[in-house]
């Protein structure tokens, strides 16, 4: 057995491992790579995302209104995390699907997470989402502007998103671009399976912390279903179905003009410079809303509406008598806090353990993550102090 590094090196050196490349793969990949490179230069940025919002009948308290406003912005700006999918394309079956994705002027589909959402996309950067209850949001990513309407309340929310990345390649929200790159990412073929009465061919694509399962109809070459599973975020899974391409979508569907007679709730979302402090403030604000001073049960923005509804129904929030200005401020605090999370890379290994923990509990760690390049973790405790902790001393 080896005693030290040099002996281990000697052992490895004795191994004769076949690493001779296949010239056909080498040449084929070269062509494919340069094609992708050239294509990336030519294609305009197109973006798509998803929204969630509280339903009218539970939007009674200021707390849930704030949650609604925050969730809108959070979901808009983080949607790609739930729809940042890829489809494999090593199979011939995908050729038509990929072609369609490349050429699509419009695309619609249904996304089902905790709520069913209809999503429509139109070049160059328009998208529209429709929630149960008629809640509609339109976003023009080319202008960085959005409009949400709540027909049952005759209210609308205008959104302006500043400091979005200028470079499309860095843009998190570029789901269509991701769809277009699906062909190169297949890493597992699942064979056929019957789903909803159709025999479909499945493929799997694994990214950093996301597993996408894509189902294609081998007869019609239709993209039928995409299931996205988030390895480090249980409960955030999304299923996308009902894909349609190049259906006629009138420009009026993407109008940013609010309906006459509606009253305005305006939100400005600055996506720059969020830090750990923003998360701490979010946790502080939330604990001030709850009657018992507990922190949110989850930090998953896609679960936020559900959690808010349940807590509201259970009477867990205080009376929430706040000014409009305060509500706007709180909404922004929530938004920035969640944005901090969504910007953390998978390597940060962030964990949230704040459920049922009350503000002031100095002995309980409620959140921790490893900053980029750091050897230690930042740990936030129930009294919102922060300490640097060695990995081996993290809470179990």
């Amino acid at each position: 057995m080896f005693k030290d590094e040099s002996e281990f090196k000697r052992i490895v050196g004795q191994l004769n491992i076949d690493t001779e490349p296949n010239p056909a793969h080498r040449e084929g990949l070269r062509r494919q790579m340069l094609s992708v490179f050239n294509e990336a230069e030519q294609q305009p940025a197109t973006r798509i995302t998803v929204l969630q919002i509280l339903r009218r009948n539970i939007m009674k308290s200021p707390v849930t209104k704030i949650a609604a406003a925050a969730v809108i912005i959070i979901a808009v700006l983080t949607g790609i995390h739930y729809f940042g999918i890829s489809i494999p394309g090593t199979s011939v079956v995908f050729a038509d699907v990929v072609e369609r994705l490349h050429n699509a002027r419009t695309m619609t589909y249904t996304a089902n997470a905790t709520t069913e959402i209809e999503i429509a996309f139109k070049k160059p950067g328009y998208m529209r989402t429709t929630m149960p209850g008629g809640f509609v949001t339109v976003i023009d990513w080319t202008q960085g502007k959005g409009l949400s309407t709540l027909p049952t309340r005759n209210q609308f929310i205008e959104m302006e998103m500043s400091n979005l990345p200028h470079d499309p390649a860095q843009h998190q929200f570029n789901v269509i671009e991701k769809l277009r790159t699906l062909p190169e990412r297949a890493d597992e073929e699942l064979g056929t399976s019957e789903i909803d009465g159709r025999v479909l061919q499945g493929f799997r694509v694994t990214e950093e912390d996301v597993i996408n399962t894509v189902w294609i109809d081998p007869q019609t070459r239709d993209l039928v279903r995409v299931e996205t599973e988030f390895i480090n975020a249980p409960g955030m899974n999304v299923v996308m179905t009902d894909f349609q391409f190049d259906v006629e979508l009138d420009d009026s569907l993407f109008s940013l003009t609010p309906p006459a007679g509606y009253t305005r709730i305006e939100v400005q979302a600055d996506v720059s410079g969020v830090t750990e402090h923003d998360l701490i403030e979010y946790l502080r604000v939330w604990s001030s809303w709850t009657k018992d001073g507990t922190f949110p049960p989850t930090l998953n923005p896609m679960e936020l509406q559900k959690v808010s509804m349940e807590m509201e129904q259970q009477g867990k929030f205080g009376d929430g008598q706040t000014t409009e200005q305060q509500r706007k401020r709180d909404a922004m605090t929530m938004y920035r806090g969640i944005m901090f999370l969504t910007q953390l890379p998978a390597e940060s290994n962030w964990r949230y353990a704040g459920e049922d923990v009350k503000f002031g509990d100095a002995n309980t760690a409620i959140f921790w993550y490893r900053p980029e390049g750091s050897e230690t973790y930042r740990v936030i405790y129930g009294d919102l102090r922060v300490k640097d902790v060695e990995p081996e001393n993290l809470p179990k």
């Binding site: 057995m1 080896f2 030290d4 590094e5 281990f8 090196k9 052992i11 490895v12 004795q14 191994l15 004769n16 491992i17 076949d18 690493t19 490349p21 296949n22 793969h25 080498r26 990949l29 070269r30 494919q32 790579m33 340069l34 992708v36 490179f37 050239n38 990336a40 230069e41 090593t90 470079d167 390649a169 860095q170 790159t181 190169e184 990412r185 297949a186 890493d187 597992e188 694994t206 990214e207 950093e208 597993i211 390895i231 980029e372 390049g373 050897e375």
Partner: protein, 191 residues
């Protein structure tokens, strides 16, 4: 002197290639030629299967094609570190699935040739060694591969993994202990 100057010139030329590759396909193609084999070899060492290694190598270079316009590095060394980082992440993502790890374990034996020229000691053969390596954390597997199969210096491994050099040294020390324990247990079990 001439050799040193030539080396300097070569380095400068390749650095220039990295800058040009952000906008010029021919420069990217040349970088590809420079690094394809190295990344493929890394993937084989990491994944023990040439077909899987081809898939992951493809993912790496297609990722490069999509994102090189925003790559901030300026030298060929930066580019190499970036490539290895992408390759390490992609390989880890592949291995993360337990079913795949099992498949790797099952197939690697048949895909490699073992040559233990000094076979009189209890040195592990390749199947035993890779079985032990696969029991490590993904990042630790990466460190072993970069250090012993790619022969990279600690400094470069630290840059690729975005950690301090001292961390790599300490971690590698622990990894070797862990590997030794795995292998010793296995050896004792078999004898």
């Amino acid at each position: 002197m001439v050799g040193a100057m030539a080396k300097l010139f070569e380095r400068t030329e390749n650095d220039d290639l990295v800058l040009r590759a952000r906008t010029q396909a021919d420069a990217l193609g040349r970088l590809y030629e420079l690094y394809y084999e190295r990344i493929f070899r890394f993937c084989v060492h990491r994944l023990f299967n040439k077909e899987i290694a081809e898939d992951v190598t493809s993912t790496v270079f297609l990722e490069v094609a999509r994102t090189i316009r925003t790559f901030k590095g300026r030298t060929v060394q930066d580019f190499q570190n970036w490539l290895y980082a992408i390759a390490a992440n992609q390989a880890n993502a592949y291995i993360r699935k337990a079913s795949r790890r099992k498949k790797l374990l099952e197939t690697a034996v048949g895909l490699t040739t073992v040559s233990t020229t000094e076979g009189t000691d209890n040195s592990p053969d390749w199947p035993q060694l890779h079985t032990a390596i696969l029991k490590l954390k993904p990042q630790h597997q990466t460190i072993v591969t970069l250090r012993f199969f790619e022969n990279l210096q600690y400094e470069q491994i630290a840059q690729i993994l975005d950690v301090k050099e001292a961390t790599v040294r300490v971690t590698l020390h622990r990894i070797l202990n862990e590997l030794r324990n795995h292998l010793q247990s296995e050896f004792e079990r078999q004898t």
